[in-house]
Symmetry: C2
């Protein structure tokens, strides 16, 4: 393995890359929102553009979750399409694909076994964290999903490998700090007048709730708004009010705040319930500590506390940038250490 | 009022129009799927095209729900935009807008009070049904929503007027037979291995569940598929499987059927719960009969039975076409009878 090395985490809605110039230094991180299902044909260009921003690299480690995007007929063809885009975007770079078996594979081997390359990013981050924490739950809340990965006795002890298994075990929670449709997070909201069911319509997302409550600033609203409008207070309030088929005026700021709190609270409870499920399944091995990461780190920490775990910020261990793009940074470090 | 008269029900995802040549005859109905939020500027063209298919008319009655679409900053501007489109598309036609006060208003009056013209279509249908049934719940399940409108002693006795009030009272249930996102209908599904949470992602809709189960044919899948693919069995199965981040192969037909049943069952329970809520609120006036209508009539009838009501098909009273587009037909009849 030659440095500089770049670790890639190619998601369906965000691409993250971490460039490492030498062993043990903090990586330079680039995050780029890109909805692969809208323009799958542009993925290679987006990767090339990020590579250019990061500067030349000799080696690259790849993880992905973009293969789940519904522009691909199935995961197999999704993985192959991502691998094609990587190869096209990164010529002259030595490529290694991180698999759900916890190993790196050269491109031809990855192509022969596409399933192995699907959604292994959580494992890379946890593997690397296990160097530093021998007993912890990694809780990585991103824009769309939350990964909960148990580490015990210095090993990753996750029960699920595929996304389906991970959903069932609570290790993958399909809720995140930005893209989650509000109508998937809550069924009804408590208004001043009492409970009101919400419209089953893509009117508002978690980012609207977080922005309205001041939990994020407009610069962190990196995904599209559901209605294509801006992220000003009036526009955000209108999206949240529309969830109950109402105007912002009718509800008032207090009513909109109730809706926003309901969304964030439901997500917190959902992650906390999954944390308890994972803890229960570990029995005596259950960690007491949750290492929280990702752009939704705050939500992860709140859920950890609600589940009786002690949150620790991955940013304290890895630095802010690497903690927000934990799988990308982890893949870069893991690959740099391959022959260290 | 001059015949021929056309009744219009201008929704956010479907436009329905019913043309009546004389009093007491069955109307000719045109339904046209059109997602107004994608191309609000084309609404007038779509209306004009439908008007042309129906043939010349002297008078028109208008109801709408399209004003809720999030291409409009608020309902007020939504109503005004729809009225503009109507005026542009139907020159030389005498226009009357049906209001939430149960009356028809000329265009200038409707423009002065836009709120009154918002989402009054349910009231038109129930008003007309009250001619024939003095005690009944109208249960109209469309592609997106279900209207539950109580009629007692020959009068419409709904408690809500605005959509917000109607959501709260159970009179508007935001679930329908086609467009409802599966992730808004169910939180988890029972697979052979046990419960599995679903992805909070627009991977599948109610139409996929109904098509997979043979409850509708492909010709009734009149909205877009979430992934833009076709409505073949493999494509539909792939969408449903993706809800648990899985492949159709992995789940098998039986697993996909479980997911589809879970979606339809959840919608049935949701409508039944709202029916019970409406019945409870009526006390001694509560009807025993549910008159079911709309493209999701079957779901409405199942929910009615689950709530202990006796379903009767509106199609038996009004004919198949008029029952599927009940508000449009009702507005046509009501306007034709204005000076009868």
């Amino acid at each position: 393995v030659k440095t500089p090395v770049v670790g890639w985490d190619i998601g369906g809605a965000n691409v993250k890359a971490a460039r490492l110039d030498g062993k043990g230094v903090a990586p330079v991180v680039v995050e780029r929102p890109f909805e692969v299902w809208r323009e799958p044909g542009r993925l290679a260009d987006v990767l090339a553009e990020i590579a250019q921003r990061l500067g030349p690299a000799r080696s690259a480690g790849i993880t992905m979750t973009a293969e789940l995007a519904d522009c691909f007929a199935d995961r197999r063809s999704g993985v192959l399409a991502v691998l094609d885009a990587v190869e096209q975007a990164l010529p002259d770079v030595s490529l290694r694909i991180f698999g759900t078996d916890g190993r790196f594979h050269p491109l031809p081997a990855a192509r022969r076994n596409p399933e192995r390359s699907a959604s292994a990013n959580w494992l890379a981050a946890a593997r690397r964290l296990a160097y530093e924490r021998s007993s912890a739950l990694l809780v990585d809340t991103g824009s769309t999903t939350t990964d909960i990965v148990p580490i015990a006795r210095g090993e990753v002890v996750a029960r699920g490998r595929t996304d389906l298994e991970r959903l069932r075990t609570g290790e993958l929670v399909y809720t995140g700090a930005l893209r989650t449709p509000a109508c998937a997070a809550v069924r009804r909201v408590a208004l001043a007048e009492g409970w009101c069911p919400v419209a089953a319509e893509h009117f508002a997302i978690a980012a609207d709730a977080n922005l309205w409550l001041g939990r994020i600033g407009p610069e962190s609203y990196t995904c599209r708004t559901p209605d294509g409008r801006g992220t000003g207070r009036a526009e955000t309030g209108a999206r949240l009010a529309r969830m109950v088929c109402a105007e912002a005026d009718t509800l008032g700021d207090a009513g909109i705040t109730r809706i926003a709190r309901e969304i964030v609270g439901a997500q917190r409870r959902q992650i906390a319930a999954a944390l308890r499920q994972v803890v229960r399944s570990l029995g005596a091995l259950a960690p007491r500590r949750a290492v929280v990461a990702g752009s939704g780190e705050r939500l992860a920490a709140e859920a950890a506390r609600a589940a009786g775990l002690r949150p620790e910020r991955l940013a304290e261990l890895w630095g802010e940038d690497a903690a927000r793009a934990a799988p990308a940074a982890a893949v870069a470090w893991l690959i740099a250490e391959l022959h260290a």
